[in-house]
Every structure is written in C-alpha cells, then in structure tokens.
C-alpha cells in the first residue's frame, strides 16, 4: 500500500526468521547449522568418495585380479596397475603395484561399475589431506586395501547384496565342479 510497505514486510520476514532460529526445530525454519567437528551429519549410504580395494579376511587374498579394465575405463586415467609375476615368470592373478592418484580421481564411480570381479568400490572417506602435491595423495596398494567388514560397515545394503550374489556364484561354480567337467568354459 504506502511507499515503504514492501521494505517493512521484507524486514518482518527476517525478524520472523531470527525469532524462529531461537525457538523452532531445524526442519520448520529453525537453526540447521551442525557443529561439524563435534557433531557429524549421518552419511548417506550411496555417498561415494575415493575408491578402495576389498580383501576377504586377510589382505593377501584381495579380489582384484589385475585385469586392468578399471584403468582403461577410468575417465581421468588415475589408476596404474602392474601385474605380479611369480618366481619363474608366470603371470599371477594379483597386482604387484596398484596406485590411484587421489589428486586426479573425481569420484565418478565408473571403476566400481566396470569391475567384473567386485574388487573396487567407493569409500566414504573424505577427510584426506596431504602436505605436498604428489607425495601422500598417491595411494599405493596397501593404503587402498580395506576389509570386507569395512565395506559392510559403510554400505550395508549394497555389501549384503554383493555378498549374496558372490555366494550364489560360488555355489554354482561348486555345482559345476561336482558334475563332469564340461569343456573349458568360455571367459566368464
């Protein structure tokens, strides 16, 4: 109505917000800042940050077979794998070197999708800092290795689904072994 009414109505809004911030709960207009270091917000299950390699029970038998698919699929090319050879030069199904450069990785999660052996998954670890550019942020194999239990802890539903699927594959493979061996099956 009169000249200054718009300004006054606007100011009433900020006043209401100020009063609300003292009395209302965070959902309907209250104060929603959470004091980060002391109180942390619950993490979403599908939250994805830097990848990590899974091993069952001990760090030796990790699932990764150094097939290099994720290195090829990774858009910014931040994965570097060298296959492990045993004493007389026969290639092993284990990576000797598996580096991920965290300064290059953009957490897109494509390596997780592309890996046929459920070896690499996205972690919830985001409080990572390094003092120099190349040094500590270039994660080697042992920094990346994390147990299956950790996987269950951070992503319960996905971990459970994957484990059941692996049990079924295991069972199917056992079943195939009990029957007469078929000609060597094509690449799984």
């Amino acid at each position: 109505m009169f000249y200054g009414s718009g300004v006054l109505r606007g100011m009433l809004v900020t006043l209401k917000n100020m009063i609300q911030s003292y009395f209302c709960k965070p959902e309907d207009g209250g104060l929603f800042t959470s004091q980060y270091p002391e109180k942390r917000l619950p993490e979403k299950e599908r939250f994805r940050n830097f990848p990590f390699l899974i091993y069952d029970k001990e760090p030796e038998n990790l699932r990764c077979v150094a097939c290099d698919i994720c290195a090829k699929e990774c858009p910014p090319k931040c994965i570097y794998i060298i296959r492990d050879f045993d004493t007389d030069g026969k290639p092993l199904k284990k990576p000797k070197i598996f580096d991920i450069d965290l300064t290059v990785c953009m957490n897109c999660g494509i390596c997780e999708e592309a890996c046929p052996f459920d070896a690499i998954y996205m972690d919830h670890e985001f409080e990572i800092s390094g003092r120099e550019r190349q040094g500590s942020l270039l994660y080697h194999k042992d920094d990346l290795l994390k147990s299956n239990e950790h996987f269950h802890k951070i992503r319960p539903t996905d971990a459970a689904a994957i484990d059941t699927r692996r049990q079924e594959d295991e069972a199917k493979k056992q079943a195939v072994k009990k029957e007469p061996p078929k000609p060597p099956s094509t690449a799984s």
Binding site: G6, F32, E73, A114
Partner: protein, 384 residues
C-alpha cells in the same frame, strides 16, 4: 577485484573516460569472467566481456573417451544443475542408438531435472540480491532449501553436485522408498518457503527501484541473438523447449509457461519465481504417477558391466533440453567406434552473454553488475 586502471588524462575535467576492467577475481560471485568497461563518470560507455579463463577442453576430451566416460564430465559443464546436463547427454546418445527408456526411468529423470530447476532458480535470485547489496540473507535462505534438495541428490545418486546419475537407456540406481518420501516432503514444503521468499523480495521498493527498467531486452534482439531460457520468456517470447519438443514424457504433465512484458531485470527475476511454481506442479504430478518397473533399457544390459564396448551406429544426432539457463543441446557425430567422432555442447549461458553490452551501455556501473547477475551465467558452461 584486480584493477588495472589506465587514466586517459585529457586535462579537461569532464571528458575523462575511465577504463576499468572488473577483473576475473570476483565480479560478484559469477566465476572467472572479466568485463572491460569504459566509464564516463558513472555511466557505462562500452563493455567488452572477456571469457575463457575456465576453458577445460571438454569437447576434445570427449572425442578421445568412451561414451560413458564423458558422462561425469557433463556434470562439470553447468555445475549448478548436473542432472539436466546428464539428461541431455543421455537423450542424444539414446536418439543416436535408438534406445527405448523404460517408464520409471523417464519419470525419475523428469523429477530430477525439475528439482535442479528449483535449485538453480532459487540460488540465482539469491545471487541477484547479493549483487544488489543485500548482505547474503536471500542467498542463505535459498541455500537452506537447496541443501534439502542436494541431500536428496546425494541419497539418490551418491554425490551432491556431481551426480553422474543418468545412464544411456535409464538411470544408474533406483529411487528407494524413503528417497521418494524425502522428495514429497521437500516438494510440499517448497511453496511455503517461496511465499516467504516473495514476501521478502518482490514488493521490496529498493529492489524495484534498482531492477525496474534496467537492462531492457527487446524481443526482436532476443530472438535475433538466439537467447533462450528465462531471459527470452521475460521479454515476452513464448518458447519453452519442454512445450516445443515435448521430449521425454513432458507431454503428460499439465503446466504453464510464464511470460514477462518489459524484459528488464525485474521481469527476469519474477519469471524465474513463477517458473519455480510451475516446476512444483510438474513434480507433484510426476510423484503421483511414478510407476514401478526396472530402470535400465534391456538393450543396454550387456554394456552396464562393460561400458567400453558400447558402439552406437554410424550417424549424427542433436538433442536439446530446457535447462534452467536456457536451451542446452549436445550434438554428437559417431563413426561406429566406441569414441564419438565429434562432440559439441550448445551452452545457453555463453549465448545469453553475447548481448551483455547492448543491455549495459547507458546504465551505471552498479547496474552493469546487476544485469550480469540477472543474465545468470555459470562460467563452467560458458568456457566449457
């Protein structure tokens, strides 16, 4: 604000034109963008936008990458609304490879892109007020709502802003039950927030004084400069790609397209507010009618685990989407190999920026900053 000032000193008091460039540091929160301005006293005589500070070679990288590999890069185009960028990339490849998207995936896509439209428009009006000098209050109210929507994106896709959620032929994860409940809750609470936001801003005399009849864009200039999005509709031209192309399943939803009359900063601001209300209508309808069903096309099943051997047939395709900033389109030429032969993005911010000089000449310095705010550019999309 880096100031390199060359003072053409012609002695007489009144003919001193000041050559200022509002430098790449922070021309009021719009990223690395430089405006080379010639001032006569307070009024702008000439203005030359200088861009390219954030050029990351997105199109060249895409030509040496598998199709799926450049999907996360599209998130970084207009980093305010990554879902619509994914949407347009997915649409182009689906058009190229004739992939049918299942019902539920289409609904999820529409819901996600309308949510990004809310996020973008609410933040842009906030930043516009910030250019006008309101000390961050509108921006923080806008961010309070934006936080709720970003939490939904995180729950659904895994990341708040860099979602990488769409796949060719559908979406990566399914929409879980409580995610749906969270979206319904946000959509039901948004109108109440919008009313309060409008009460704070729309009738505010100082805002009207600063924004009305500033930076007027005539419909003819808008059409000839191929401006799209809220800027075009604020000048009164009825052109919304959701209605023109009816891509995906937009024809099932009943919504209206708000049009301005004068085409100045105030109209652009208010058209965005009305567009938010329309998006809410679409979201309500979509949330009601979302069917069950799988989320990935049968045809694409083998490529889920092996994205690198996805080879679309020979040919070219161009699809476009009504992104919050305008008509966002991706043009792909495929030569049958898993890597596109040519990949080009039609960025609405870049094209909307070309007429900045015509809008700003004759206005004051303070208005030039406000007009830049109302044009709503994001440098990731301008420089690609």
């Amino acid at each position: 604000m880096e100031k390199t000032v060359t003072l053409q000193d012609s002695g007489a008091i009144d003919t001193q034109t000041l050559d200022i460039n509002i430098g790449p540091q922070h021309p009021s929160t719009h990223g690395v963008f430089r405006m080379n301005m010639k001032l006569d006293g307070e009024t702008v005589v000439s203005l030359k936008p200088v861009m390219g500070y954030l050029h990351r070679n997105h199109e060249q990288i895409a030509e040496n990458m598998f199709y799926l590999g450049s999907m996360p890069y599209t998130d970084r185009l207009d980093y305010f609304n990554s879902m619509t960028n994914n949407f347009v990339y997915a649409l182009t490849v689906e058009k190229l490879a004739q992939i049918e998207v299942p019902e539920r995936a289409d609904y999820i896509r529409v819901i996600m892109s309308e949510l990004t439209r809310l996020v973008n428009h609410v933040s842009v009006t906030g930043f516009l007020l910030n250019d006008l000098g309101a000390f961050f209050t509108p921006v923080l109210y806008a961010f309070r709502e934006r936080e709720r929507i970003l939490d939904i994106f995180e729950e659904v896709s895994g990341a708040r802003m860099m979602c990488n959620y769409f796949r060719f032929g559908g979406v990566k994860y399914d929409l879980s039950g409580e995610a749906l409940v969270a979206i319904k809750d946000v959509v039901s609470r948004f109108p109440k927030f919008l009313d309060e936001y409008e009460k704070l801003l729309t009738k505010n005399e100082i805002l009207c004084m600063r924004c009305q009849n500033v930076g007027i864009l005539s419909p003819e200039l808008a059409i000839s400069a191929s401006i799209t999005g809220p800027m075009l509709r604020a000048s009164g031209v009825n052109y919304d790609i959701r209605k023109v192309d009816n891509y995906s399943i937009y024809d099932r939803f009943k919504f209206r397209v708000p049009l301005g009359k004068v085409g100045d900063v105030y109209d652009r601001y208010y058209v965005r507010i009305l567009e938010m209300r329309e998006s809410l209508k679409i979201l309500e309808q979509a949330l009601k009618e979302i069917p069950a069903g799988e989320i990935m096309a049968k045809k694409m099943a083998p490529f889920v685990k092996a994205p690198r051997n996805f080879k679309p047939p020979l040919g070219e395709s161009y699809a476009r989407v009504e992104a919050p900033k305008g008509e966002l389109g991706i043009y792909i030429v495929s030569d049958g190999t898993p890597q596109p032969w040519r990949y080009h993005v039609r960025a609405p911010s870049f094209i909307n920026l070309t007429i900045l000089e015509d809008l700003c000449v004759g206005h004051k310095v303070a208005d030039a900053v406000v007009i830049l705010g109302s044009v709503d550019i994001v440098l990731g999309e301008v420089d690609r």
